[in-house]
Amino acid sequence: MSKDKVKKREMVFNGIPAAPGIAFGEAFVVNVEELPVFTDIIEEDEIEGEVGRLQDALTQTEKELSVLHETLGESMGEEHAKILDSHLMMIADEFMKKETIQLIKSEKLNAAFAFSRVIDKTLRTFDQMEDQYLKERAGDIRDVKRRVIRNLLGQKVEGLANLRKQAIVVAKNLTPCDTVGFNKKYVLAFVSDMGGSTSHAAIIARSMGIPAVVGVNEFSVKAKPYDQIIVDGITGQVVLNPTPKTVALYREAQVKFQEMERELLTLKDYPAVTLDGRKIELSANIEIDEEIDDVISHGAKGIGLFRTEYFFMTRGTLPGEEEQYRYYSNVLKRVAPDPVIIRTLDIGGDKIASWVDDSVETNPFMGWRGIRFTLSRKDIFRTQLRAIFRAAVHGEARIMFPMVSVVDEVRQAMTICREVKQDLKKERYQIGENVEIGIMIETPSAVAIADLLAKEVDFFSIGSNDLVQYALAVDRGNSRISYLYNPLHPSIIRLIRDTVQAAHQNGIWVGLCGEMVADARVRGTLLLIGVGLDEFSASAYLIPEIKQIIRSVTYDETRLLVKNALVLSTATEVQDMLDEYLRDKRPELMDFVPKGPV
């Protein structure tokens, strides 16, 4: 407790709810910014000092890595620990050290610059390697370099690995590298200044089952270490220095949330079947393999959307075939015999990756993204497809192409798939033979030609987020017009109905993998059951809720709801009609009605 009598004032911040739950605790502010290396030349009498600083930084880095090494064995498995072992050896490499000291002495480079030069020379030899797997190891060397440089620049780093007691982790932004090596049991919740609901902090939080709020402007500056914080991952509110009254209010909300969670989780082993016997596949959306346990514990059957861009973007370099093969194989094995729909790289739009291109598009959402990107970067596309087809021997893999707007794209992609399979067979690889290939339906043009697209593929999955944005021509992030973003709008219901009809008339199945269920909750879910969707895929935490809704209604009554909705003119009318039905017929589902608009 601090001695000063000045009471800290309660402040409420609003962010994006990224993982549900309520947490109370002290702030642990993480500082992970990287500093640039200066190319200053030093004076003769500074040489000794620089050599000493190098030594100190190496010792410090070794200590950090040793701590990581200990923690990692427990939290991330032996494989990671072995990699750290080789990182430790790099730090201890006498030849690297000698060469750096030599540069400091003979060329009077500052320690950070000299060290960079030595490591960069090694890295250049990696660039020239032909063996893709060996080449990829350069990432490890870069990682070590970053650590040493950080220590050389004398930055006080409050790394997550230093967390020694339970706290709420507050950061400007959290990258995967920052979250390696922390002890999960100490983290109560995440709050970050930047990011959206698919940012790293959000994903890690959901996989750990702890709350997270992201996009809380400047919070990491306002919150001081040891400040008391409440994180509400349901509404997206973060309270700094709460009064006892506020704490009591949130305690109540927390108890209610936990009760509901417990109740829903009891449904884990029950099937998703309506009262009149219509079975719906319920699967989960994931971004990283660490989310799988959560998927299974929430009772999802398989993965309906495995986003692969995360794996690509978090590394700084393109992952090679072997690395992807191992990554996908692991996911497939763990989820088998249930299916995993692997979406090919969906880069662009809101997720421009630095390694692809630095050019900024004026209209990225209508730009070079999804299948448009992969068809023009066939090298990346082929590598990914090769890895997926090879991994498919380990489970039930399906492939899905994002952002399709014309038939030609599908045909081209299918041709590449056939070629890749032939190549792999020639090279005597074992591959999955019957991998279903489908597409996302997320552009209005894809809906308009859904009957034609259905003849080319094995399944559809409706990407509701983008479909709503494109159909209503609304940027969700623009607060002046975001009121237009409404998945209950009659236009959206019609588009989804048309897609489902086209799919079924052509004998293929159709699912939905957007956040429509997260946005419109029970209202959206009812309509989606009623239009005849075969599969739902959503974030794991929503699975029990969706299952509960499916199990509480009849397919017939939801079909009637859709029929009624299709003759209404506005989103508000649709919402009122659904709410009236819920109040009169299914009051037990009223808990799942979202609080705000939509």
Partner: protein, 91 residues
């Protein structure tokens, strides 16, 4: 000085983890141990050096060892390569 030729039998080549095993083994000896591939020559006790060889499956390497325990060192390191760092076919 003694020398010998070895071949990389690990299907993934000498990646970082193998490199660290090689360095560990080499560091147990007092002798100066150099590994060369074509024109390149590196010190076997430097992990950055070994890793930067980029020795993939099938690469031929030459060991040159000089010092009091050169014979033992050559034997141990040659055997390490011959039985693929005590691994099976892969990893």
């Amino acid at each position: 000085m003694v020398s010998g030729k070895v071949k990389v039998t690990n299907t993934k080549g000498i990646h970082l983890r193998l490199a660290s095993e090689l360095v560990k083994a080499a560091s147990k000896f007092r002798s100066n141990i150099m590994i060369s591939r074509d024109k390149e020559e590196i010190n076997a006790k430097s992990i950055l050096g070994v890793a930067s060889l980029g020795a993939e499956f099938g690469t031929e390497l030459t060991l040159k060892i000089e010092g009091e325990d050169e014979r033992d060192a050559l034997n141990v390191l040659m055997r390490l390569f011959e039985d693929n760092f005590s691994r099976g076919e892969d990893s």
